[in-house]
């Protein structure tokens, strides 16, 4: 009992550690996949970690006239994402945090990070900060409802908005995942994840053109350790959102019991699933181009519609 009692908290810690340590590697992997597909050598998957190390060693600089919003945003972003990593059933559903992993709480925590950065962008008082914040909020306002609605569609068969309950329901009743509602919700969620993490075709994470940026424009004023935190936070968000997608669409392997071996297996499978998803996303991005800014709402409205259909389908087709 004691051993089993210790596995739960250990699983939570392992999830957070895996996300923090693995997120830059995931970003590196995605860049490497893209580079290889474009015929470039690429810097290797550890490059984001090397970048973070370099930034961490620099002296912290904040622009004149910025206030607490600017200074606290990087910490808030990383902290809120770390809490999401702890709450979500990424490797195990049987964790002490699992009972609190409410869907609405998770989406709210993700939104908290977005809002913190947008406020920081506004706090700098520069045209780019304001421009980026305005664009990011436009995208966020369209994305958050989609995420909510998509996961809500998946929660209907489980009868709970608790993510752990939804995921363990999926493990025990795989038919749910292949149901029209499950597929529609997964598709909607996938588009929302692209927008939320600033990937193509919504935002171009590799651009140097400041006028086209969405996410990067908000954080232009950050430097040194603060920039390292912002970058780490962005990598972690990508990891947890891909993890959420993987847990909901392909929950197999996630530990449902508090056994150390199952949690270890769950962690390994989590890493493999996220790496595969990331590589697939990076490969797909090679074939995509960035949409015109005013077309992004059309794309996101489409994904919202898919989520709405998923909810409708889960009511009508399952007859629950």
């Amino acid at each position: 009992m004691n051993a089993a009692g210790a596995v739960g908290p250990a699983a939570v810690a392992a999830q957070v550690a895996a996300v923090v340590a693995g997120a830059p590697l995931l970003a590196g992997l995605m860049r490497q996949v893209r580079a290889r597909l474009e015929g470039r050598a690429g810097p290797g998957i550890a490059q984001p970690w090397r970048d973070l190390r370099k930034l961490m060693r620099k002296e912290p600089i904040t622009p004149v006239g910025t206030g607490p919003a600017f200074r606290t945003a990087p910490l808030l972003l990383v902290a809120s994402t770390a809490v999401v990593a702890a709450l979500m059933p990424l490797a195990s559903t049987a964790t002490p945090a699992g009972v609190r992993s409410d869907l609405i709480l998770v989406v709210a925590l993700l939104a908290l990070g977005t809002v913190a950065l947008a406020l920081a962008g506004l706090d700098t008082g520069t045209a780019f900060g304001g421009m980026g914040a305005s664009r990011e909020m436009t995208v966020a306002a369209l994305v958050e409802p989609t995420i909510l609605l998509a996961v809500f569609a998946l929660s209907i068969p489980a009868g709970s908005t608790n993510l752990a309950a939804i995921v363990s329901g999926g493990i025990h009743d795989s038919a749910r995942l292949a149901s029209p509602a499950g597929l529609l919700a997964t598709a909607a969620l996938a588009v929302a994840v692209l927008a939320e993490t600033g990937r193509l075709p919504v935002d171009n994470p590799a651009t140097h053109l400041e006028l086209t940026m969405v996410h990067e424009a908000m954080v232009l004023e950050y430097a040194g350790p603060d920039l390292a935190l912002v970058e780490l936070g962005a990598h972690m968000r990508l990891t947890v959102l891909l993890g959420l997608l993987a847990s909901l669409a392909a929950p197999w392997g996630i530990a449902t019991t508090a056994s150390a071996a199952a949690v270890a297996l769950g962690l390994v499978l989590f890493a493999v699933k996220v790496a595969l998803l990331g590589a697939a996303l990076a490969a797909a991005e090679v074939f995509w181009a960035k949409l015109r800014l005013f077309r992004i709402p059309e794309l996101l409205a489409g994904s919202f519609l898919l989520a709405l259909l998923a909810v409708t389908a889960s009511y009508f087709l399952t007859g629950e």
């Binding site: 893209r34 597909l37 474009e38 015929g39 470039r40 045209a127 780019f128 304001g130 421009m131 193509l200 075709p201 171009n204 590799a206 651009t207 140097h208 053109l209 400041e210 006028l211 086209t212 090679v286 074939f287 995509w288 181009a289 960035k290 949409l291 015109r292 800014l293 005013f294 077309r295």
Partner: protein, 506 residues
């Protein structure tokens, strides 16, 4: 056989007659290619004066008419031509900033070249200007026009940018994401190139001409050489002129290919950029083999040309196949095509009024091309066609470039056939050109028509070299095309024009 030198009509005009004569020439289908000011010393025919030369050109047939007016050397003033010709108004502003020549009754009398920290009363092109003095009593502030209204905000960008590009400051007045007004402030890179030419021998002027704009080494070197050769009465052999035409096409190729890829990259489709970079590298290595320099420096020499080798048809065809498949992929991609279509439209009337040149003009329905209107070489064969599109958007500028690369490859193949490596200089350029003279070189560089006018002094040295890069004519088109475009499309629109900062600001 030597080339027949193009006749230039030189008319000494009265100051009062100037606007009338200019209006006649413009109505007659000429365009104002260049305006250059000169300080004539007491020994010059006509005595001490500030002499301004207006060069009007049209073609075909190749017609070049110069109006010369003489101004008071101590208080130079002239009637403005800004109402007749938009480029004329800009040349006048440039002269006022560099020479202190006052255009009377100019409708847009703002400073052009002079930044606010330039010392008051110091004119760099004056004969007694000397080295630049330290920044002193400034000309005073030069505020941007403020657009007022509900929700209008300003985005200042540059002059230092995030990428490796030249310096320029852009001030956007924006509502939401829509650009209401864009003001581009350039002239951060004034190097005094025209002043540096003064007093050099023509041979020592050539390296300077090659470096006016790094990506246009052949275009500027050729325009300079044509002008000096005309001034000195130097004939150039057919082979040398053929080799020069080939070099010009090789320059067009590597620049257009880079732009095609950069346009794809700016809409986030990086893989096509990676592929065009590969093709461009092939072309640059070919350049290295042909001239010994990746950017084709050293190929055009005074009185002739120098080729280390001649590109083979097989290599040119392989490059052509690569470029065509890249272009097909880009145009077949729905998002890329959607981003290009309708973005930053430059209407044909606007392009004509502004005096646009090169692919920017040809994408807006103006078929001007100096290879046809002012040919420096006449055996282009059937391969020379001028692609023209009329929509004036980014797509049109992309398509014009894509089609021009095809034409250039065909031309390069045609020109290379029958050329052999080696130095082809008809007569060794004399170190001292006997008499003072003047000459004009007009060349269709990859970016557009380059006009260079040269005056040589009694010892054969360069007395005055005036260079008009197509960017000088095309820069004002960018803000016009951007009206009602959204801010995130600006980099794409800017790249589709791809204007030179260095060539604009000598």
């Amino acid at each position: 056989m030597t080339a027949t030198l193009t006749a230039r009509t030189v008319v000494d005009a009265d100051l009062a007659q100037l606007p009338g004569r200019a209006a006649e020439l413009l109505l007659d289908g000429h365009r104002l290619a260049l305006v250059a000011a000169h300080h004539d010393g007491p020994g010059a025919p006509g005595g001490r004066a500030v002499r301004v030369v207006y060069l009007f050109v049209s073609g075909p047939p190749d017609t070049r008419t110069e109006l010369h007016v003489r101004l008071d050397a101590d208080a130079p003033e002239l009637p403005t031509l800004a109402r007749l010709s938009f480029p004329g108004g800009r040349f006048e502003r440039e002269m006022r900033d560099l020479y202190g020549i006052v255009p009377l009754d100019h409708p847009l009398p703002h400073r052009l070249v002079r930044h606010f920290h330039w010392p008051r009363g110091w004119y760099p092109m004056a004969p007694d200007a000397g080295p630049p003095p330290p920044f002193a009593e400034s000309e005073g502030p030069y505020p941007f026009l403020e657009v007022e209204g509900d929700g209008v905000y300003e985005i200042p960008v540059g002059p230092v940018h995030a990428g490796l590009i030249e310096p320029g400051h852009f001030r956007f007045s924006v509502v939401g994401e829509t650009i209401i007004k864009l003001k581009a402030r350039l002239w951060f890179v004034h190097k005094g190139v025209e002043k540096l030419f003064e007093g050099r021998t023509p041979e020592r002027g050539l390296p300077l001409a090659e470096r006016v704009s790094g990506d246009t080494a052949v275009g500027h070197a050729l325009a300079y050489c044509l002008a000096v050769e005309e001034a000195a009465g130097l004939g150039v052999s057919d082979d040398a002129r053929r080799a020069r035409a080939l070099l010009l096409e090789l320059e067009r190729l590597h620049n257009h290919v880079a732009d095609l890829g950069a346009l794809c990259n700016d809409v986030g489709h990086g893989i096509l950029n990676a592929q065009t970079q590969r093709v461009r590298e092939h072309l640059l290595r070919l350049n290295q083999e042909v001239t010994g320099h990746r950017l084709l420096r050293g190929g055009v020499v005074l009185g002739g040309s120098e080729l280390l080798c001649v590109p083979t048809a097989a290599r040119l065809r392989a490059v052509g196949d690569d470029i065509r498949s890249i272009v097909t992929l880009a145009l077949g991609h729905t998002t890329v095509r959607d981003r290009f279509t309708g973005t930053a439209r430059l209407r044909p009337e606007a392009a004509r009024d502004l005096g646009c040149l090169g692919y920017a003009a040809r994408a807006s329905g103006l078929p001007g091309d100096a290879r046809i209107s002012h040919p420096a070489y006449d055996d282009y064969g059937a391969a020379l066609t001028v692609p023209v599109h009329t929509t004036g958007d980014v797509l049109a500028r992309f398509l014009v470039r894509a089609e021009e690369t095809d034409v250039s490859l065909a031309l390069a193949e045609h020109l290379a056939d029958g050329l052999s490596a080696g130095r082809a200089v008809a007569r060794p350029p004399r170190s001292g050109l006997a008499e003072p003279g003047s000459g004009v070189g007009i060349v269709e560089g990859w970016r557009g028509t380059i006009t260079t006018r040269v005056e040589t002094g009694p010892e054969g040295t360069l007395r005055r070299v005036k260079i008009a890069d197509p960017s000088f004519f095309n820069w004002p088109a960018l803000p016009v095309a951007l009206a009602d475009t959204i801010v995130p499309d600006f980099p794409l629109a800017n790249k589709s024009f791809n204007l030179s900062y260095a060539g604009n600001d000598l």
